[in-house]
Amino acid sequence: MSIDWITVAAQIVNFLLLIWLLKRFLYRPILDGIDAREAEIAARMGEAAAVRQQAEARETEYEARIAQLSSSRAELLEEARRAAEAERDALLSKARARLEEEQAERAAHRAEEAARHRADLQRRGAEALLALTRKALRDLADEGLERRIVLQAAGRLADMGDDLREAAGDARQAVALTRDPLPEEVQARLRSDLGDVLEGVSLRFEVDPGQSPGLNLRLGGAQLGWTVDSYLNGLEATLAEAAGRPARRGGHDAA
C-alpha cells in the first residue's frame, strides 16, 4: 500500500477539472432546465389556482343566484299567474267588446232591414193604392168629371197669369186637349178665362180618347195638365215624399 504523491496531485487536478466540466455540461444545463420547468409548472399552477379561484367565485355566484332564484320562484310564479290572468281578462274583455260590437252591427243591420222592408211595404201599399185609385178614377170618370176638372182649371188660370205669359212667349194659339168633347159653355168659359190672362191668344179644342180624363193645355213649347193622371201623380209624389224616397218623374202637373 503506497501513495504516489504525483498521482495524488494529478488526481486532485483531475477532480477539480471534472468538477468544472460537469458544472459546465451537466449541472448547470440540468438545473436550468429543472428551474425552467419548475417555473413553468409554478406558472401553470398559478394559472390553475387563478382559474380555480375564478371557478369557485363563479360557483359561489351561481349558488347565490340559484338560492335567489329559488327564493323568488314562488314570487315569479305568482307574478306570472297574475300576468296570465290579466292577459286572459284583457282577451276576454276584448272578445266581449267585439261580440257586443258585432251584436250592435247585427241589430243595426236588422233595424235597417226592417226599415227597408217597412218602406218597401209602404211603397207597395202606396203603389197598390195608387193603381187602385187610378183604376177606380178611370173606370168612374165620365164627362161630368172632365167638365168639372176643366172648369176648375179655368178658374185657376188667373192665378197663373205670369207663368202662362212666360210659357206662351210669341205663340198666338193654344190647344186644349180632352178625352171627350167639351160642352160649348165649358169651352166658352175656358176661352174667356184664357183670354183674360193671355190677350190675343186663340184657343183650339181637340179630343184624344186615350188621354186620361181632364184637360191638357199646350201653349207654345209648354204643356199644362189638369187630368186624373196628373192628380194621381201628385198624390204619388206626396206619398213618396212622406215615405222618404224620391218621387218618380211623371207628366207636368199643374194641380
Binding site: 500500500m1 471534472l18 458544472k23 449541472y27 440540468i30
Partner: protein, 229 residues
C-alpha cells in the same frame, strides 16, 4: 498480485510515466463529460425530454434532494463538489465490471486525493460561509482545550475517508481475484455483483460524508448523516 494501478505505466511521454490510474480517470472524465454534453446539447424548454435527459434529471435531482435534506438549503457549490464526488466514484466503481479496466478508486493515491480534496474543501466552504475568523473559532468550540482534538478530528476524517473507500474497493477486487482462483465460474460473478452494490454504496457514503463535513463547517447545527453501512 498487483494491488494498485499506480504501478501500471500506460505510456511515458518525454520520459514522464503516465500510470493507469490517471489514464482511467481521464476515461471516466471523458465518459461523464461526453455523456452529459451529448444529452444536454439540445436542452431547450420547447424540446420534450427524452429517456437520457430524464435519467440525468433524475440523478441530478436525487443528488440535489439528498444535499438539501442534509444541509437544509440549496447551495449549488455543494452540488458541484459532492455531486462530482459521487458521480466519479460510482462511475469508477461500476466500471470494475469491464475486463481489464483498473478502477482509479482502487488506488490509494486516488482515494487520498479525493480525501484531500474534501479536507481542503471543508475549510474553504466554512471560510466562504462564516468568514475566516468565524471558521477558525469553530476549532475552539466548545473551549480552547478542544483545539488539538478538533484538529486531529479533521485530519482523521480525511484519513478515514481515504482508507474506507480504498479498503472497500480494493478488498472487493482482491476477494474477487482470490475467488477467481478457487472457484472460477460461480463466485466471481456473485462477488462482482456484490462489488457493484458495494461500490455504489461507498460512493454514496463518501459523497454524503463530504456533504456532512461541508454542512457542519458552513452551518451551525447540521443534521446528522444517514446511517452508514
Amino acid at each position: 498480485m498487483e494491488l494498485t494501478p499506480d504501478t501500471n505505466i500506460v505510456f511515458a511521454p518525454w520520459g514522464f510515466g503516465i500510470n493507469a490510474t490517471i489514464v482511467n480517470t481521464w476515461i471516466i472524465m471523458a465518459v461523464l463529460t461526453g455523456t452529459a454534453a451529448l444529452v444536454t446539447r439540445n436542452l431547450r424548454p420547447d424540446v420534450p425530454p427524452n429517456r437520457w435527459r430524464t435519467t440525468l434529471e433524475v440523478i441530478v435531482g436525487g443528488i440535489v434532494g439528498q444535499i438539501a435534506e442534509i444541509t437544509e438549503r440549496r447551495d449549488p457549490r455543494i452540488l458541484y463538489f459532492s455531486g462530482t464526488l459521487f458521480l466519479f466514484i460510482v462511475t469508477a466503481n461500476l466500471l470494475t465490471v469491464v475486463p481489464g479496466f483498473d478502477t482509479p478508486t482502487a488506488s490509494l493515491s486516488t482515494t487520498v486525493a479525493l480525501a484531500l480534496s474534501v479536507l481542503i474543501a471543508v475549510p474553504l466552504f466554512g471560510i466562504g460561509s462564516r468568514g475566516l475568523g468565524g471558521y477558525l473559532r469553530t476549532y475552539l468550540e466548545p473551549s480552547v482545550i478542544m483545539l488539538p482534538f478538533n484538529i486531529i478530528s479533521e485530519v482523521s476524517r480525511g484519513i478515514s475517508l481515504a482508507i474506507r473507500l480504498y479498503g472497500n474497493i480494493m478488498s472487493g477486487a482482491v476477494i474477487a481475484a482470490i475467488l477467481l482462483g478457487v472457484a472460477p465460474f460461480f463466485f466471481p460473478v456473485v462477488m462482482d455483483m456484490l462489488g457493484l452494490l458495494t461500490g455504489v454504496i461507498q460512493a454514496y457514503i463518501f459523497a454524503i460524508l463530504a456533504t456532512v463535513y461541508i454542512s457542519s463547517a458552513t452551518a451551525a447545527t447540521p443534521k446528522p448523516p444517514k446511517e452508514a453501512p
